[in-house]
Amino acid sequence: MAVRVQYSNSSEIGVFSKLTNSYCLLALGGDVNFKVFETELADHIPVVYASVAGTAIVGRLTAGNKNGLLLPNTTTDQELLHIRNSLPDTVKVQRVEERLSALGNVIACNDYVALVHPDLDRETEEIIADVLGVEVFRQTVAGNVLVGSYCAFTNQGGLVHPKTSVEDQDELSSLLQVPLVAGTVNRGSEVIGAGLVVNDWAAFTGLDTTATEISVIESIFKLQDQASSSIITTMRNSLIDTM
């Protein structure tokens, strides 16, 4: 089920929030509208309010999945401590020394694969592989290096920049092992990462998102039939084990 949300009159909710399968990070100061996150998610995963580097743009500065969370070097010790204490112990939280500090813009990941900015440090790549438990690929999306801004993907599917060519989509799809579709959010905005946050069973998108865009999102991320998709996810691990 895809829900429309606003943060302080802005539809760019992907800037102010980070959603994974095991936690949700939200910016402070969002007012009543952001409570929607809590009502949808609080029964299943911890919803944590935090700031990063004293700012509200937590969605663009952090990168994470169910295994871990990466924070930029500008995160203060207090913030780091607060986040670490609020998240479950299974989630590894690590601060990364990386020149490209807007981690949410340069890293896009699900629980198995990560796409990163081609110029990311070797060290950071190793940390990503280690903390997030993923395979890392240096890629561009529609010729753009900010992979985290121009695509969003989960373990079920992914949405990429509308101008991504079919060949690129095929290539990415084979890397990520999930189906992809090129589309927009927030009434024609190409910045997918800013307008959409999604995990395997919930999606939140900006208030301006049209009904067509919502139906595309629900279809590619397999959000309509929740029961069956969660069974498939949990079964996947046991299937691979027995192989």
Partner: protein, 310 residues
């Protein structure tokens, strides 16, 4: 849809001057906040920056005005983001109104620069009675009337204007802070002309006939820069520095002069904490103005003088 009306397409140049290395600045209202950080000339020189000719460095920017189109929706919405301060309201709906006034009635303009696709500013007029059932208009009405709680007479008068078909028109005039004031005369004049045209087209019961304009804008109090104070008000170090009221859009000072009703309130502290603050910018305030439409010709003339006089 290509722009057709002549009134909606004007081109004008603005020579923007900025000085490096010597710290002197052309005295423009908008530049006050920037120059207050350059009070000490010697420190400027010590930076050893690229010592180009110490004269003006001129950046030529060409601004063009177009009618608002669907493609401008996002830029307009962003500019309207803080229209009601921190109050969440249906800004998408208001942006839609601006776009539809532009595309259906050729009323309103957006400013773009140097062939850039994104709009840096816009102007529009929305009839508040025609759209009174829209959520965003109800929210604007609620916001405006609630701030007038301390002035019951004014509040009643404004409420009457809102609730009857009296031609109360919302004047939306937003742009990025550093767009030069030179864009103001053509914008306001074009809007005025477009409204007249619309009235002529629609005849008697035209919804574009304005009796009053409602303008919601921002002001701030700044520290007077040392150089400016020498020419206008001499200020000693001991004196309070924050008595000068500045308008983000200087032409609005003229609207304020001609307004039949004006009310100002400081922006909530929580919101101020989140904002970038310029050096020397103090209390940021919201200003509400009610201007009779009959004053418009005089206002337009004064705006022309304001800009050409600089």
């Amino acid at each position: 849809r290509q722009q057709s009306s002549d009134f909606c397409h004007t081109t004008f140049h603005k020579i923007m001057s900025s000085k490096k290395s010597t710290g002197k600045r052309k005295e423009e209202a908008l530049k006050i906040v920037e120059s207050s950080s350059e009070e000490d000339d010697s420190s400027e020189d010590d930076l050893g920056q690229d010592q180009i000719d110490p004269g003006d460095e001129i950046i030529e920017v060409e601004f063009e005005a177009f009618g608002p189109q669907e493609a401008d929706f996002h830029a307009i919405k962003t500019l309207l983001k803080s229209y009601l301060e921190e109050t969440q309201y249906n800004s998408s709906e208001l942006a839609d109104l601006v776009v539809s006034e532009g595309s259906e009635h050729t009323v309103g303009s957006v400013i773009k620069a140097d062939g850039n696709e994104q709009a840096f500013g816009f102007i529009s007029a929305i009839n508040l009675h025609k759209h009174k059932d829209k959520e965003c208009i109800r929210q604007v009405r609620q916001y405006v009337l609630s701030h007038l709680a301390a002035k019951p007479e004014a509040r009643e008068k404004l409420e009457a204007l809102f609730d009857t078909d009296a031609g109360l028109t919302l004047l939306l005039n937003e742009r990025l802070v550093n767009v030069p004031v030179d864009v103001a005369p053509p914008l306001h004049r074009a809007l005025h002309q477009e409204l007249q045209e619309a009235v002529k087209r629609e005849g008697g019961r035209s919804t574009h006939r304005a009796s009053h304009y409602l303008l919601l804008t921002s002001t701030f109090k700044g520290i007077l820069e040392a150089k400016k104070s020498k020419t206008k008000k001499p200020k000693q170090k001991g004196e309070k520095p924050d008595s000068q009221l500045y308008y983000f859009k200087p032409e609005e000072e003229i609207f304020a002069k001609e307004a039949s009703l004006s009310h100002t309130w400081t922006v909530a502290a929580a919101e101020q904490a989140n904002r970038w603050t310029f050096d020397g910018m103090k209390s940021h305030s919201r200003l509400l103005l009610l201007v009779p439409a009959a004053k418009m010709p005089s206002i337009l003339k004064q705006i022309d003088t304001l800009v050409s006089g600089q």
